[in-house]
Amino acid sequence: MRSMTRRSYAALATGAAFALILAGCSDSGNKSPDASSTGKVDCAAYKQYGDLKGKTVSVYTSIVDPESKQQTDSYIPFETCTGAKIAYEGSREFESQLPVRLSAKTAPDIAYIPQPGFLKSLVADFPDAVKPAPQAVIDNATKYYSEAWVNYGTVDGKLYATPLGANVKSFVWYSPKEFADNGYTIPTTWDELMTLSQTIADSGRIPWCAGIESGTATGWPATDWLEDVVLRTAGPDVYDEWVNHTIPFNDPKIVEALATVGDVLKNPAYVNGGLGDVQSIATAPWNEAGNGIPAGTCSLMRAANFYQANWATDVTVAEKPQDNGVYAFYLPGKTADDKPLLGGGEFVTAFSDRPEVQAFQAYLSSPEWANEKAKVTGQGWISANSGLDASLLQSPIDIMSYKLLTDPAYTFRFDGSDQMPAAVGAGSFWTEMTDWIATDKSDEAVLTAIEKSWPAS
């Protein structure tokens, strides 16, 4: 009997061990926001969505903590007034996992897609899964968004997705105190910007800092640089032709633009302040590259409005000159009247046409949601929705971004790499721009390699 008892103990022990492992694996679960905590919400504007009690809409996005909190908070009025529940799921592997979920027929109800090119390929690959926008959403889109923004969510003449958030990338971050102390003025043309860079370089300091390291997405900040400069040296029309591949990727005009980028990024006298030589751009993390500006090791960095989230907590974002203060100016065009603007955004795409999903889609395209989102966001969010009440925006950079975005003097263009096929926009464009810096590959060789990688169909 002795061996019997021992075996029983072993059985118990094994069982307990397995159970512990399983318990460790189980998810603690996300708590849905408590609707009652918001207090009074004026439900009049939400009547149109009807009573959706007991219905759940699943949302799948690339927006993760801490930004996801602002997202879920902005849904609370909708949940309170209609009774629907929004099941929010953010994932860093969003772009890889969404096609997998679509193939497996476990699509979320709604996904926020950050690239129009990705939307286009999803519509092509999964024509039955992606649902065209319902009438209420079309009405909102035409009423509150400019034609360009509506077009980014349109595939083959059919509106599929409306913009969620927006960002503006044509900014140069600087230290207002440094500018005031040295008598520098904000440049209003590209030439003035270059003169300023030379002045700073002559004073014995490296003017620019840049970083394009971003894990597996390394290289994207360099693609933004090129896009911004193509808009300035070749103009928006050539830019559109280039993005849509009606001219080759290595068109002479693009070669010229890349050379102009090289005048800054590959000029040892201009880069890479506090981070090393030209090569160090390739290994400097993009979200830390600007730290040299408040620290005093560099003066200028081109980065989007959303870079404001990456400053250290003791850095103040304000136009007024002060210690540890940073601010941004518009990356100037060729002339003071030439004002192209590069930006991006996410698009709300539905994979279900249940009424509650369509209602939520309509809500996200409405000014009510945009205002609600602005209220719960401290900094780092704007929308291209013309119904957005700009006084609700809280950060000075957000206010300026929104102004530029809605000012008709500025010509807006969507981030080009996000509109290209994934093989280019999330592949060769990133890696070749990285090689351009890391191994000093020539302008022509880089652009020709990307042209070759453009998928045939």
């Binding site: 059985a11 069982g15 679960g29 890889s96 971003s214 597996t216 290289g219 093989a423 592949g427």
Partner: protein, 329 residues
């Protein structure tokens, strides 16, 4: 039922955990207890009981996806048009994939040899010394760290900052270089050396495994053989060369092939430390990138098949060696 699915408070979760553990222990205990009860069971029932779950699991989880992958590797990026061997031709002729294959070769040759050599020498050196347990623990520790964790640690070790006033070095290696009066280096940037700096991480992890297995094998060498050799005048290096190594040959081969298999599939280190940039990509990383980022299903599948084909001979050799060892015993 709701009580079992939605736990909101910590107390509730703990209670649920206890219930789950008790349930699991009960079920597992019942199974393990019941297995012994009936004394005479036909062999086929036992055989089916053991084999069926394995066959089902392998068939559903390995054979089917494997065949499906081979099949999709013959199609284009969306899996719609048959393209024959085009994807394989791309993988072997285009420069960027040749670099990937070259790197994989670097990995597979360097890691098993370096890790086994370090492990073997270490095992012999610390064998029967006073600090053996402590010394072994130190080398074995990296095995306890996940690949991603190890990669993050080493990424910091390699971190580059320029040597200029107002800028502090944050990477250990570059700080050492600066103290010795050299310029800081971009370890992860310049190919092909950067691949070897990544390989160091894998060797650091795997040497512990090699050391443990080989140390056990060394201890299993019968004392009379060692004694006889000593009486014949064998000492030091010669003892190592003519007695130790031949005696543990089966263990050596198992260690080398096991590490080689793990190395062929290396993914985490490359993805965490360089993301496959700067010409450091390997087959496993490239296959993931092509399949899920660039969404070229055909090419991704072809790369997966290449990886599979490369692993097969190692698996066969490994299994055969294991069998030979068993026969000797």
């Amino acid at each position: 039922m709701d009580w079992f699915i939605n736990a909101d408070t910590t107390g509730h979760k703990l209670a649920l955990m206890v219930v789950a553990i008790v349930l699991f222990v009960a079920v597992m205990g019942a199974i393990l207890f019941a297995v012994d009860r009936p004394k005479k069971i036909p062999t086929w029932v036992v055989a089916t009981g053991f084999l069926a779950p394995t066959v089902l699991g392998l068939g559903f989880g390995l054979v089917y996806p494997g065949l499906k992958t081979i099949w999709s590797s013959l199609f284009d990026r969306q899996g719609k048009n048959y393209v024959g061997l085009d994807n394989y031709i791309t993988a072997f002729t285009e420069e960027q994939f040749q670099v990937v294959l070259r790197n994989t070769v670097f990995w597979v040759i360097t890691v098993p040899i370096a890790a086994t050599l370090i492990g073997l020498v270490y095992a012999v050196v610390v064998d029967r010394t006073r600090m053996e347990a402590l010394a072994k623990t130190l080398v074995f520790m990296p095995m306890a760290i996940s690949m991603v964790g190890a990669s993050i640690i080493w990424k910091f070790v390699y971190e580059y900052k320029p040597n200029q006033p107002g800028v502090n070095q944050t990477g250990l290696l570059n700080q050492l270089l600066v103290w010795l009066g050299f310029d800081p280096q971009q370890f992860l940037l310049n190919a092909p050396a950067n691949t070897f700096y990544l390989i160091v991480v894998m060797v650091w992890i795997q040497a512990g495994f090699a050391m443990t297995v080989l140390s056990a094998a060394i201890k299993a060498i019968p004392d009379d053989i060692v004694e006889a050799a000593r009486l014949d005048g064998l000492q030091g290096i010669k003892m190592f060369r003519y007695i130790t190594v031949p005696s543990i040959r089966p263990a050596l081969i198992v260690v080398i092939t096991t590490i080689a298999m793990g190395t062929l599939k290396v993914f985490d280190i490359v993805r965490t430390m360089t993301g496959g940039n700067f010409n450091t990509s390997v087959v496993a990383n490239e296959f993931y990138k092509q399949s899920f980022t660039i969404r070229d299903q055909g090419l991704g599948a072809a790369l997966a098949v290449i990886l599979f084909v490369l692993v097969i001979p190692l698996v066969i050799y490994n299994v055969r060696q294991l069998r030979l060892t068993e026969e000797i015993r």
